[in-house]
């Protein structure tokens, strides 16, 4: 089908007065035309008209009252300590919201009431025009375009054209290169993903208070959220003070969970037989799916579940994925006991923790 097949759709608009029923033969029922206008009560009854006027004015006056009440509420109710004294949300927030909302709503209802009751309600008919320009305009535009290109002579001088396009195109390079320092200097060093702050003999400490953990105080069935001792530097332990971005990223990577289970329940992974201490086993807390911290532990099954996307890992079986979208087990931190009986790391993690990335296996 093409435009030529349907000339009726492009006839000048003047022949289509909607009040005149159309007589297209294929139509089973002819267009009866617009129905006659019906007068509203407010058009023909002065009483109804006055009543509508009063209603609309009342709405606008109520809106004014509400706006004044807003100001009153603003100065009457305090925020701060007593913010939640009313409706659990604070008298100030609730009263400001209600007065502002009512004021706006009443104005809106008033205007729409005005439009429906008192403004003229004659439907008007406007003719449509094709979205396309007339053919002669199209031809003239193409002609002008060709004339312009012809006078520019770009088409005849490919050397000029190509070098110009090349020059403008290569500007993309400076634009892209300029973004390099979004991560300035060695902050762009992606090999950092492969390492955490853990190092041999660093103590495992409780994550909020930073106290070291005695192997003997960990009960079977416990799950302890823990952190590297370096996150809690003191004069005693001698770790350097961490600040800002570095502190945050080390915190994000170093988080671990420690569980103790009956040693017989543990299926030791190859080469990791000596990574545990009497059934105390330690894994990265960061999910290998997209990096949420894992938190929900079910002690009877030794399963731990990520609350973000429900990846489930079996801590008794090398933290293998038993359910959910994760692809890899949680990395395990090899641990031992130091001279004072505290849990310490044997080394850093032996693989990158957290979400996968393109170069992961290369590091």
């Amino acid at each position: 089908m093409s435009n030529e097949d349907h000339p009726s759709d492009h006839v000048p608009a003047t022949t289509h007065d909607s009040h005149v029923p159309s007589h297209r033969e294929s139509e089973p029922i002819p267009d009866p035309g617009l129905p006659p206008h019906e007068w509203r009560p407010t058009d023909v009854d002065p009483k109804a008209e006055k009543r509508a006027e009063r209603q609309i004015a009342a709405l606008f006056i109520a809106a004014m009252v509400s706006a004044v009440l807003f100001v009153v509420a603003y100065f009457s109710f305090s925020v701060g300590d007593s913010w939640d004294t009313f409706a659990g949300m604070g008298a100030s927030t609730v009263s400001l919201g209600v007065t502002l909302g009512m004021s706006l709503l009443l104005i809106g209802i008033g205007i729409i009431h005005l439009a429906r009751k008192l403004m003229a309600d004659h439907e008007m008919v406007e003719m449509r025009h094709p979205a396309a320009s007339p053919q002669e305009d199209r031809d003239a535009t193409i002609q002008a375009l060709n004339d312009g290109l012809d006078e520019a002579g770009i088409g005849r001088r490919p050397l000029v054209r190509n070098t110009m396009l090349g020059a403008v195109g290569i500007l993309g390079l400076p634009a892209v290169v300029l973004l390099r320092d979004l991560a300035p200097g060695d902050t762009l060093d992606i090999s950092k993903l492969a390492h955490t702050i853990w190092e041999p003999d660093m103590r495992l400490v409780r994550d909020v208070v930073g106290t070291p953990i005695l192997a003997s105080e960990v009960e079977v069935g416990d799950l302890i959220n823990a952190a590297p001792e370096a996150m809690f530097p003191t004069e005693e332990n001698g770790y350097p003070e961490l600040e800002g971005a570095e502190e945050q990223s080390e915190k994000a990577k170093g988080a671990i969970i420690i569980v103790r289970m009956d040693p017989d329940d543990i299926t030791p992974a190859k080469g990791r037989e000596k990574w545990t201490v009497d059934g105390i086993i330690c894994y990265s807390k960061i999910c290998t799916h997209v990096g949420c911290p894992i938190s929900l532990y079910e002690r009877t099954t030794h399963h731990v579940l990520c609350p973000c996307h429900q990846s489930t890992f079996d801590l008794a079986d090398a933290a293998k994925v038993v359910f959910g979208p994760a692809a890899r087990p949680l990395p395990q931190l090899p641990i031992k006991v130091d001279g004072e009986g505290y849990l310490v790391a044997q080394s850093d993690f032996t693989e990158p923790i957290g979400a996968s990335y393109w170069e992961r296996e290369k590091q």
């Binding site: 089908m1 089973p28 502002l100 709503l105 003229a120 996307h309 979400a355 393109w358 170069e359």
Partner: protein, 584 residues
């Protein structure tokens, strides 16, 4: 009507108002026109006609909630401090006093507890964002279900789809700004998504975060994207969307006097301007009431972001829920290492492939439909969803996919509320996401076709009155009455579907015509799309049916009037044309 119209209110005149001598407003207008020359354009547009229907209001909700977003957003910027610098909170909220957090979190708490009206504006901003995205989606469905995206409006459909994408990104960047525990978890997941991007993903993550996650740059960067970059593009695209709407003139529903060539409705000035303006205040007012009465995103309950913590039941804002659901139902172990490089299919498919694919499917819908049907005409009359069964079914299938993915994003909540196993729910969703849309497609299409048949029944035999008559022979029959002429015309005011056919596979010399393979595909698709549709009756069929009805009436000629069941009350219908069209 027999109403006395001699004393008609002066405002409601049938003739156009004539210009009177210029007052102060007139001289201001001429001053402006001497310099701007706008009168020529305004002459037409001040009285531009807009058709009226409740469903045309949905896009307006989106527009006005965007205005509310701009207003409340400007208010919030006066106090918000988009910095990840570490401070100790010393504000009014008791339970977090003395806790270390970023300045953006602290200033969010300051807005919530120490600025009067601050919490109201925060909550209004968040509610307006939800309404903005929800109304865009419902508006999109209205446009698709009524075929308003057909020529010449395809490009406006594309703009609308991009607006939906940008609105979603704007929402995500916005709710990440307070740097609370919930949104921070979302940002970390987003970092995981970036890292799963093949080849450049790791570097993209490092560049965006200014180094390793979480860094100290992400909040200020998201902030400038949220308050300048995306709103700027949104404004420009909304302007283009509206300009095209004005240029094309709004679509309208068919009906008596409403044709493809005209537009029937109220003039912009005064009625449409008043209705739209009044509606702005109503949308604004409802959002203010919601902001005052309904708590949303109480960041003080979540606490500041800490990369080692998370809360159970973590959910993104609802419009991010469907990719999150796809992420959740991916099977385990979907990762491969090829030449030493890691490809995370478990993230790649649900986040980086399917959502862009869905957006692409949406964008190409009008072009695909136009190609299959071969229809190059302009369309200004809307179609009822039933009259385009395949399109309606495709949209419902897409909605079903979306809805299932969205529900999967709440699989933990469903499991808790229904005391069901989260594993079972997830297994179910893995299958349902593929089967559900197919079932939905099939049911919807059959349903539409049945409704089309029902329309034809009404045209040919009238509507069911619910009145049972018994003939002298003892036969029971339900009385049908003809629908009104207006309703009958409206039911027939639609195109007949034409199945596209290939004119000839080969030319005279037996050589295959160019593109004949794609033409064959097109013919097959066209037949798939249209062949089961029910076409409106022809004039001959209508006349035949009416003749039959008259014949039946003759059989009742023993009565002095047709049996209509109202012999014993005063609800006798005076004229069949006044019988209201009953909606079954």
């Amino acid at each position: 009507m027999s109403v006395d119209t001699s004393k008609v209110a002066t405002s409601n005149r049938t003739d156009a108002a004539t210009a009177s001598k210029p007052g102060p407003a007139g001289s201001l207008a001429s001053w402006a026109d001497d310099r701007l020359g706008l009168a020529t354009a305004m002459k037409k547009n001040l009285r531009k006609v807009f058709p009226d229907h409740w469903s045309f209001m949905l896009g307006e909700i989106a527009l006005w909630s965007f205005v509310v977003l701009l207003l409340t957003g400007v208010f919030l910027t006066l106090w918000f401090n988009p910095s990840m610098g570490h401070v100790t909170y010393e504000g009014s909220y008791d339970q977090l006093r003395g806790i270390g957090m970023s300045e953006s979190m602290a200033s969010t708490l300051h807005i919530s507890f120490d600025v009067r009206g601050g919490l109201l504006m925060r909550q209004m901003h968040h509610w307006a964002a939800m309404i903005f995205i929800a109304s865009m989606m419902v508006h999109l469905l209205r446009v698709a279900f009524t075929g308003a995206y057909r020529k010449p409006r395809e490009l406006n459909w594309v703009i609308g789809c991009i607006l939906l994408l940008l609105g979603t990104l704007e929402g995500f960047t916005g709710y990440s700004l307070p740097d609370d525990l919930l949104s921070g978890t979302g940002v970390r997941a987003a970092d995981g998504f970036l890292k799963a991007t093949p080849v450049a993903g790791t570097y993209m993550s490092f560049l965006l975060f200014g180094g390793e996650f979480p860094g100290e740059s992400i909040i200020p960067r998201l902030y400038i994207v949220h308050v300048l970059l995306i709103p700027g593009i949104l404004l420009a695209l909304i302007a283009a969307h509206m300009l095209l709407l004005v240029y094309h003139k709004h679509t309208q529903w068919p009906g008596p006097g409403r044709t493809e060539q005209n537009v029937v409705g109220f003039p912009m000035l005064p009625v449409y301007a008043a209705k739209a303006g009044g509606f702005f205040f109503m949308v604004f007012g409802v959002i203010a009431l919601m902001g005052g009465l309904l708590s949303i995103n109480p960041v003080w309950k979540f606490g500041p972001y800490d990369p080692t913590k998370v809360t159970a039941g973590s959910q993104p804002d609802w419009y991010m829920g469907w990719p999150d659901g796809l992420l959740r139902i991916m099977p385990s172990h979907m990762e491969s290492v090829i030449f030493g490089y890691t490809i995370s299919w478990n993230v790649l498919i649900p986040i980086l492939l399917v959502p862009p694919l869905m957006l692409t499917v949406l964008i190409v819908l009008p072009f695909l439909e136009g190609w299959i049907t071969g229809d190059k005409r302009d369309h200004h009359l809307l179609q009822r969803p039933r009259n385009a069964p395949t399109r309606t079914a495709v949209m419902v299938a897409l909605m079903t996919f979306y809805g299932l993915a969205w529900a999967a994003g709440g699989n933990d909540i469903i499991a808790i509320k229904l005391h069901a196993s989260i594993n079972q729910i997830t297994y179910f969703m893995r299958g349902a996401i593929f089967i559900g849309p197919v079932i939905a497609f099939w049911i919807t299409r059959r349903w539409c076709i049945s409704l089309q048949r029902h329309d034809n029944e009404k045209l040919l035999h009238g509507y069911e009155t619910g009145i049972i008559t018994r003939s002298v022979e003892g036969q029971y029959a339900e009385r049908h009455l003809p629908i009104s002429g207006t309703s009958a015309y409206t039911l027939t005011a639609r195109d007949r579907d034409e199945i596209y056919s290939v004119d000839g596979d080969t030319d005279a010399a037996g050589v295959a015509a160019p593109n004949s393979r794609s033409e064959k595909l097109r013919a097959r698709l066209s037949s798939w799309m249209y062949q089961h549709n029910v076409q409106k009756p022809t004039r001959a069929e209508l006349e035949e049916a009416h003749h039959h009805a008259e014949h039946e009436a003759e059989l009742q000629s023993g009565l002095d009037h047709p049996v209509d069941g109202h012999q014993f009350d005063d609800h006798r219908l005076r004229d069949t044309d006044e019988v209201p069209l009953r909606d079954h």
